[in-house]
Symmetry: C2
Subunit: 345 residues, 2 copies
DNA sequence: TTGAAAGCGCTAACAA
DNA sequence: TTGTTAGCGCTTTCAA
């Protein structure tokens, strides 16, 4: 039995990958490569007859277009890159999920890089990512001035910075104010009649800003020192437990604790539970991020809610719009936050 | 002041992206493009003099190599694609994190797709991903026979399937036996003297297999029915709480519950705590996955531990080895699991 | 509606 | 060690 189906196993030339190409499909369909390309990408621009022939050829050969070649020729990769500090139990993953869903539906693909909260690594990642010529870059955070920032501006790739505000975004920005969050949490706690405050905070810049604003608001109200435990890179539940132990030892009269993440707050709750400290009666606890299960633990965790999915969906839309040459109406968006009062405060 | 630095703003040709190219760098350095390429990619293969000139030109122009063009020419993308069911609080993210770290260090990039536990979407994702010509594909799970599988085999791209075992992997496999896990958990609980069992399980195939094996082991020991709550797609802590309520209503004598995820198990623990049910005295609870904070909650969660990071690191290594033409010694690996006995069982 | 030609920016292959 | 040439597989441009 003879067949015209190209045999991928037998490489055609030294350099070829051996895979079925548009060329093969075109030959089989008896049309020019560009016509086959049109039939596949813009079926409307081609006669029904040609369309059928090409589709048959695609089916028969199992042709999968090489998007890398297409991207090179069209200067559009349909790839969006996201750079996040962490991919495990991270508040950013909701955003990534929402982006990924929106992108997939539009035929885009997501590249992901994790900086592990290291600025140096973020720069290296950015450099690597720019080399891939993505149509857009999403950053969980705001880029500090520096080489990477300069380069990103020069590259002219659409960028969405997020999860923060700045007067000088590289390009687009979808964020909220950490300063206002610190104040709002302080106000919430003071309104509840709390008098002695503590902070449990991870060592990153945004958490620092929430903490600082929190402290300032407390001081402004004349409510004295805020005992602070910095857990550094250790953003674990265990760190939250240990932090409460420290607080109990050094500032035993504390009646309200603001944690820089929900996981840390859960640690505080866990340790409080173990020691029989009544929450919220004797101690109010608030987290940050609104982890999905925070509402269902006991006591339910009060927290600061950020609509991470919204950020992701908007970022995807903005980036794709820009990739397609459309202007983005409102390139700087403050999505705000909400104080979610539940059982723990 | 005159300068030879190419101006990216002024596009050179209609088609060009306008970015600095290797050509520009080569011209500025006074060498051929291929020589500039060598200076950048294999500095050892070039004279010190040339190296310096090229580096200076790169520095001066801010050149970032276009990896897409490089990939097309060399037929090596240095991209690995990972397809996972979910990216949020998912047991797979540890694996993704480990892969991402290993890949980044070697100059690779990770594309990520989420199937949302849908087989249909997984197929679509696979098709899209193959078009990007990644050097390797990582799958969280084993691919069922079907069109996608056939196509993947035909594409000849190195593949690692994972988190499961099969006699017929597409290519490489790094997994463990869900059947043995079900048995081991049953044995663990029976050894502890438990008599009446329940299951709280999400609606996916691997969880089903653990559950079935668990039930069979219980039956084989003559210990009667296992009351089962299927939470479907709702893999939340809340579902775990609701499940315990159901169990208490329909099978109140239950003294041991095996949950298909740690989050479900935490839900069971939470509800038990609220109702004053003593864990582990009156009720033993086990989860699956060993979420990072399971050891630090109260009571600490007994679970089945999978070394997700190991899977990720191995997968990255295997895939890169294969991309570089090396053979992989042991393409099928059973990484096993361990029963982690903590406070809840 | 279809096609021919000419790249996209890089590297493999071969030659000097 | 360096360079010339010829692609990689696709799409833009221009012409019929």
């Amino acid at each position: 039995m003879s067949t015209n189906i190209p045999v991928p196993a037998a490489k055609k030339s030294r350099r070829s990958s051996g895979a079925i190409t548009l060329q093969d499909v075109a030959k089989l369909a008896g049309v020019a490569p560009i016509t086959a390309s049109r039939a596949i990408n813009k079926p409307d621009s081609v006669s029904v007859e040609v369309l059928k022939k090409v589709q048959a050829a695609v089916e028969r050969t199992g042709y999968v277009p090489n998007r890398m070649a297409g991207s090179l020729a069209s200067n559009r990769s349909r790839v969006i890159a996201a750079i996040v500090p962490s991919t495990v139990i991270s508040v950013f993953m909701q955003t990534v999920e929402a982006m990924n869903n929106a992108l997939f539906d539009a035929g885009y693909q997501l590249m992901i890089g994790q900086s592990n909260y290291s600025e140096k690594r973020e720069e290296a990642l950015l450099e690597a990512v720019v080399g891939r010529r993505p149509d857009g870059i999403f950053l969980a955070g705001v880029l500090r001035p520096g080489k990477a920032r300069t380069r990103l501006v020069a590259a002219g790739i659409p960028v969405v910075e997020s999860w923060d505000l700045t007067q000088t975004p590289v390009d687009m920005l979808i964020g909220f104010s950490h300063l206002e969050i610190g104040r709002a949490v302080a106000k919430h706690m003071m309104d509840k009649g709390r008098k002695r405050f503590a902070l449990v905070t991870a060592g990153d810049e945004r958490a620092d800003r929430r903490s600082t604003a929190f402290k300032q608001a407390i001081h402004a109200a004349g409510l004295g020192e805020v005992f602070t435990v910095n857990v550094g890179e250790s953003r674990t539940l265990k760190s939250g437990r240990d932090a409460l132990i420290k607080i109990l030892a050094k500032a035993p009269k504390t009646d309200a604790i603001f944690c820089s993440s929900d996981l840390l707050a859960m640690g505080v709750l866990t340790e409080a539970l173990k020691r029989g400290i009544k929450v919220p009666k004797a101690l109010a606890v608030m987290g940050f991020g609104d982890v999905s299960f925070g509402a269902d633990i006991e006591p339910a965790l009060s927290t600061v809610r950020i609509n991470g999915s919204d950020i992701g969906a908007m970022a995807a839309k903005y980036l794709m719009d820009r990739a397609e040459g459309k202007a983005v109406n409102q390139p700087i968006v403050d999505v705000g936050f909400s104080i979610v009062e539940r059982g723990s405060s």
